[in-house]
Structures are given as structure tokens and as C-alpha cells.
């Protein structure tokens, strides 16, 4: 899988590359508008991470160029602006997702994972993971041939875990992911524990192996 990171902030790009490389993703970095344009001209990527504010141009122009050339690369906008207008404009121009800075790398990984899934398996959007079969569109989960019912939050959590396999996910990171806009307003992260506990129980009740491990006391990790 090839990923292009268009980001002028060197340290940020470096972190993203470091984190994603472990996922068997092949990462390339473009730190200017011109560099990015040259790269997308020549290569195709599975996913492009696009920073809108670049020193020598607007990232949205790159997006417009991609769409003009009818390229199928998935695009996730990573912006420091986080304004609704920006988000709407980006998505209307044809971006697949929008992530506001600052974000967790696990969040980014999960988004890239879902995006590539969507792009690669257009209609039958099913993830097979160990003895689980997850339909991303219908939001159903089949374990060992038997359907299990998950709440919206539990389903969300499951996808997040699978998108971040073998990674340590701390409680606060999960809290941020789960409560979305509210995360930064809630101080008590105990609800994460409740959701993880329920998910674990449902998976083990269905006869599944226990993939979700507790690490360092308050962190979690999907091992599989």
C-alpha cells in the first residue's frame, strides 16, 4: 500500500511515516505544493494525506487536480484549520475524509484503514479478521458463523481496534475516538472501560478468542 503524505511540518510528517511504516504501508513525503504536484503526476497512491496550508500553495488545488485527472487515490485532509467551512469545501471537492489537527496517529491509522477498505472493495465491504467477519456498510458482525449484536459504540470500537492491530491504545486515546466532539469536554474516561468490557464479553460469549488484551493496567491492544 502506498501512501503520500503532503505535509510541510517535518516533525509531523516524520511521526506519521514512523507510525504507518509499521503497518506495512509504504510512505512518501512531499513537503511543498510543487513536490506534491510532481509526485501525483507520476505515481498513483492508495491514500494521500493532504495538508491544506502549504508554504507555496493551497492543498485544495492538489485535490482539484486529482479529481480533474480522474485519479482514484483516496484523500484524507489533515488540517490545522478545523473549520466547518473548510471541511465542507474539502469534502465537496472530493476528499474522502477530514481530520483536524491535532489528531492521534491511531485515529489516522483507523481512518486510512477504513478508506483503503472502501476503495478496494467497492461494494462488498467486508473485513475478515481472525474468526470475525465484519460488514462495514451494514455494520454487522459475524463471529464463527453466528451474528452478534453490537451497539454503535462497540462496533466503532471494534473497527478501531482492527485498524490498529498490535498497537497499544491508551484509555484517553480511545476516549477521544469514542466520544468524538465531546471527548475534549468529558474528564472522566471510565466509560471507555465499560465499552471495552462489553465488547470483550460479547466476543468471548460468541466463542471467540480473546484478542483484546489489557496492557500497562489502563491500555488496550488487539493481538491477532
Amino acid at each position: 500500500m502506498k501512501i503520500l503524505i503532503i505535509e510541510d511540518e517535518k516533525e509531523l510528517a516524520k511521526s506519521i511515516v514512523e507510525y504507518l511504516s509499521e503497518e506495512k504501508y509504504l510512505c512518501e513525503v512531499a513537503s511543498t505544493f510543487t513536490e506534491a504536484m510532481n509526485k501525483i503526476d507520476v505515481f498513483n497512491y492508495d491514500c494521500i494525506l493532504l495538508d491544506i496550508t502549504l508554504p507555496d500553495g493551497n492543498g485544495l488545488k492538489i485535490l482539484e487536480e486529482l479529481k480533474k485527472e480522474n485519479k482514484q487515490d483516496g484523500v484524507i485532509i489533515i488540517s490545522a484549520k478545523n473549520s466547518v467551512d473548510d471541511k465542507i469545501k474539502g469534502l465537496q471537492t472530493g476528499a474522502d475524509d477530514y481530520l483536524a489537527k491535532p489528531f492521534h496517529l491511531s485515529e489516522l491509522t483507523a481512518r486510512i484503514y477504513s478508506l483503503i477498505r472502501r476503495k478496494q472493495f467497492n461494494n462488498s465491504n467486508t473485513i475478515k479478521q481472525d474468526d470475525l467477519e465484519i460488514d462495514l456498510l451494514a455494520k454487522t458482525v459475524v463471529l464463527n458463523g453466528k451474528a452478534i449484536t453490537l451497539t454503535k459504540k462497540e462496533f466503532d470500537l471494534l473497527i478501531y481496534f482492527i485498524g490498529n492491530k498490535n498497537r497499544v491504545l491508551s484509555k484517553s486515546t480511545l476516549a477521544e475516538h469514542l466520544s468524538g466532539d465531546f471527548a475534549d469536554m468529558m474528564d472522566n474516561h471510565d466509560f471507555v472501560y465499560a465499552h471495552v468490557k462489553n465488547l470483550k464479553k460479547k466476543l468471548s460469549d460468541g466463542g471467540g478468542e480473546q484478542y483484546i488484551k489489557t496492557v500497562y493496567g489502563t491500555g488496550y491492544k488487539w493481538e491477532g
Binding site: K171, F182, D184, M186, Y216, T218
Partner: protein
């Protein structure tokens, strides 16, 4: 409170009254003096005429004595008497006595008298002439009446002029005042004062204009600074957050180090939250939001409550809802959502475990009540970063955002404490 012109009118009226009151004795003295002077002159003329008339008769002394006696009888107010010695000096006097011609018995009149020496046939006679003169009290009364009349004309004139002046003269001032009243710093619309040819008002307008321009510029700079600063902070925060994420994945991380990293994570979440909220506040104040859309308030409230259900459960808070359907208001959807979330989350945060939260929505009021023990300080509640003493969490910006969103929409947010309940009310 009285207006300026009414105040000056009162002073002017008092002054005019004093002047007019003082003028009454002055006029009286003047009129009386003229009266007496004229009468004295008149009496002298009469005396001269009598003297001349008698002398022109060229009659004998016996006849003269007879004539004088007869004259004295028909002229009771005058008298000609034989003077033993000629009067060296005329004497003038004023006397009050009964008027012998008067029909009424009790009528007392004032007379001006002259005693002078006349010579008839070279004999000295003493002539007394008395002429009726207007009484003092009558003169005073007439003058007072006229004065009062003029005083009334003057006061009524003042009053009418005053009303006209306050309308016309003060019009530029009223205009300025009206514009200042409607001025809002955060709307950033400059105020244009009307041209005026009154020096004082022109000066006032120029000074106010300078002051307002300065305030607007300062306010703008301050807001731009907040926005830029928050914006610039996003990237380093993002770098930090990602570095911590990478740190968490190290294989040789000890549990102790993990917890340190997790604490850093929490602090980062908090700084990102504060930063994000500051940015949001700056954007609302910069009017970067369109608030003319139609939004379904009830749907937003229900959505928010659904999303927060797990937090109600977590704290074992019992929730009561009384939400009217089809509540449509004009505003910005995203901001209204943030407003609802902030108020409800604030309630969740401050409700003791197993407490209650009541959410009510009517066509004009959105109200959230949560159980609590102590009233909060209303003056601090909506202020940025002013946290309640017992509250060590939260960004301290949630309610400021609520207030700013309300300001933008022209809604009213109020807080009160009743029957052990904190009540936040938004009226739109």
C-alpha cells in the same frame, strides 16, 4: 432625573421671579416719585394762576377779602389765608384724609399739598392747594398685577422655547447618543456621527469617534491575536501528540513510563481542547458563522442526549425530558449543537452521582436543570477561565462559548439556583 433644559428652566424661572419681584417696589417708587413731582409742579402752576387771576381783578382790599372768603367756600380743598408774615419757604406735604366730595363715608384718599406765599394787592397771603393723588397700595397692586402677567408670559415663553430648543438644538446630541447606545464592540461596525455646526457637539463627536476607532482597532487586534496564536499552536500540539503516540508503541516501555506518557496525553487533550475552544470563540466573535439557517432545535437536543446517554448511565444520573416537537429556530446548526452539548455536558459534569438532570424545550425556551447543592456565582459563570473553586477539570470555556453563541443569535442565556437545582435557560 430631569433633563438638562428642565434644570436650567427651573433656575431661570427662579431668577426671573426674583427680578420681577424686585422690580415691583422699584416701579412703585419711580411711579410715585413721578406722580408727586408732577403734582408739585401742577400745584405751583395752580398757585401762580390763582395769584395772577386775583391780581388781574384790580379790586379794592375790602372786596378782595370778601372774594377770598367766597373763594375759600367754593374751593374747600384750597385755602387762602392772611399771613401775618410772608412764608419764606414753600412747604410740600402728603396727607391722607377723607375726601369731602366722596360719596362713601369711609373713603380715605391721599392728597399732595402745597403751602406757598402769594401776593395779592401787595399783601402776603398763604395759599394751600391739595390735589388728589393715587394711593400707594393701589399703585403697588396695579404694578404687581402687570408684573405678574409679564412674568407668566416670560415663563410660558421659556417653556415653549425650551421644548423647541431641546428638539432642535439637542438633536445632534440625541443622534450621537442613539448611535452610541446601539454600538456593539464585537460587531465592529464603525459609527458615523451626523455633521453638526455646534462646536461642542462637533468636538464631542470627534472625540468619541477617535475613542471608538481606537477601541475597535484594539479589539480587532486582540481577537486576531487569539486566533493566530491558537492557530499557530495547533501544529506543535499535533507534533507532541503524535510523538506520545509513537512513544506508547515502544516495545521496551515500562508500565511507569506508559503512565507518564498517558498523563502527557491527557494534558495534551486538555491543551488541544482549550486551544480549539479559544479558536471557536475567536471565530464566533469575528462573525465567521452564518446564523440565518433554519434549524430543528428539538432534533438537535434529542441527538445530543442520545450521544451523551452513556455518560448519563456512567454517573447513574436519572434523566427527565420534556421536549416539544417541531421547534424550529433561525440560527447556525453547528453552533447550536455546540451550545446544547456544552450545556448538557456541563450539567453532567456538575451533577453528583445518582443525581437528576431535566431537559425541557418549548418553542421559546431551552432549559436544563441539574441537581446541586450550592448556587454558583452568576458573575463568574460565563467568564472565560473563571472556574468554580471545587472544579479542577474542564477547560473553563464551555459556558463562555454558550454565551457567545447566544450573543451571536440574539438569544438570552441565564442561570439561577432554585430548590437545589442549577437551572440554565436559553430564551430565543
Amino acid at each position: 432625573m430631569k433633563n438638562l433644559l428642565q434644570k436650567s428652566l427651573k433656575q431661570l424661572t427662579i431668577y426671573a421671579f426674583i427680578v420681577f419681584a424686585l422690580s415691583i417696589p422699584s416701579y412703585f417708587l419711580l411711579v410715585d416719585w413721578i406722580w408727586l413731582k408732577e403734582l408739585d409742579e401742577n400745584n405751583h402752576l395752580i398757585a401762580e394762576r390763582i395769584e395772577n387771576e386775583f391780581n388781574e381783578q384790580h379790586i379794592s382790599d375790602e372786596k378782595l377779602a370778601e372774594s377770598i372768603q367766597f373763594w375759600n367756600e367754593i374751593q374747600p380743598t384750597s385755602k387762602i389765608e392772611n399771613a401775618g408774615q410772608p412764608l419764606t419757604k414753600d412747604s410740600l406735604y402728603t396727607i391722607r384724609r377723607k375726601n369731602i366730595y366722596a360719596t362713601r363715608d369711609d373713603a380715605i384718599d391721599r392728597f399732595r399739598g402745597l403751602k406757598t406765599n402769594i401776593k395779592i394787592n401787595n399783601q402776603d397771603y398763604e395759599l394751600t392747594i391739595e390735589t388728589n393723588v393715587e394711593e400707594t397700595e393701589e399703585t403697588v397692586a396695579y404694578i404687581a398685577m402687570i408684573t405678574l402677567l409679564f412674568f407668566l408670559i416670560l415663563v410660558i415663553g421659556f417653556w415653549i422655547l425650551n421644548r423647541r430648543l431641546s428638539k432642535k438644538l439637542w438633536q445632534p446630541f440625541q443622534d450621537t447618543l442613539q448611535k452610541l447606545k446601539s454600538f456593539q464592540l464585537n460587531s465592529q461596525r464603525p459609527v458615523y456621527f451626523e455633521e453638526t455646526d455646534t462646536i461642542e457637539f462637533a468636538e464631542l463627536n470627534a472625540t468619541l469617534d477617535k475613542l471608538l476607532q481606537h477601541s475597535i482597532t484594539t479589539y480587532k487586534n486582540q481577537k486576531e491575536f487569539t486566533e493566530n496564536a491558537s492557530h499557530e499552536l495547533q501544529t506543535p500540539l499535533a507534533v507532541l501528540k503524535n510523538k506520545v503516540d509513537i512513544l506508547l508503541q515502544s516495545n521496551d516501555l515500562t508500565e511507569k513510563q506508559y503512565h507518564i506518557a498517558e498523563e502527557m496525553n491527557k494534558a495534551l487533550i486538555r491543551s488541544s481542547r482549550i486551544n480549539k475552544n479559544l479558536l471557536l470563540l475567536a471565530k464566533i466573535e469575528n462573525s465567521q458563522f452564518d446564523n440565518s439557517g433554519q434549524i430543528r432545535f428539538d432534533t438537535l437536543v434529542l441527538q445530543s442526549m442520545d450521544a451523551l446517554q452513556e455518560h448519563f448511565n456512567e454517573k447513574k444520573i436519572s434523566v427527565a425530558r420534556d421536549i416539544s416537537s417541531d421547534v424550529e429556530v433561525k440560527g447556525n446548526g453547528g453552533l447550536t449543537e455546540a451550545l446544547i452539548n456544552n450545556i448538557i455536558i456541563n450539567a453532567i459534569r456538575h451533577t453528583p452521582p445518582a443525581g437528576t438532570i431535566r431537559v425541557a424545550l418549548t418553542t421559546s425556551v431551552f432549559e436544563v436543570r441539574n441537581s446541586g447543592e450550592q448556587a454558583l456565582s452568576t458573575s463568574l459563570l460565563f467568564k472565560r477561565f473563571s472556574r468554580m473553586p471545587a472544579d479542577d477539570s474542564g477547560g473553563g470555556l464551555g459556558l463562555s462559548i454558550v454565551q457567545e453563541i447566544c450573543n451571536l443569535h440574539g438569544w438570552q442565556v441565564t442561570y439561577r439556583f432554585e430548590n437545589n437545582e442549577h437551572i440554565f435557560k436559553v430564551a430565543f
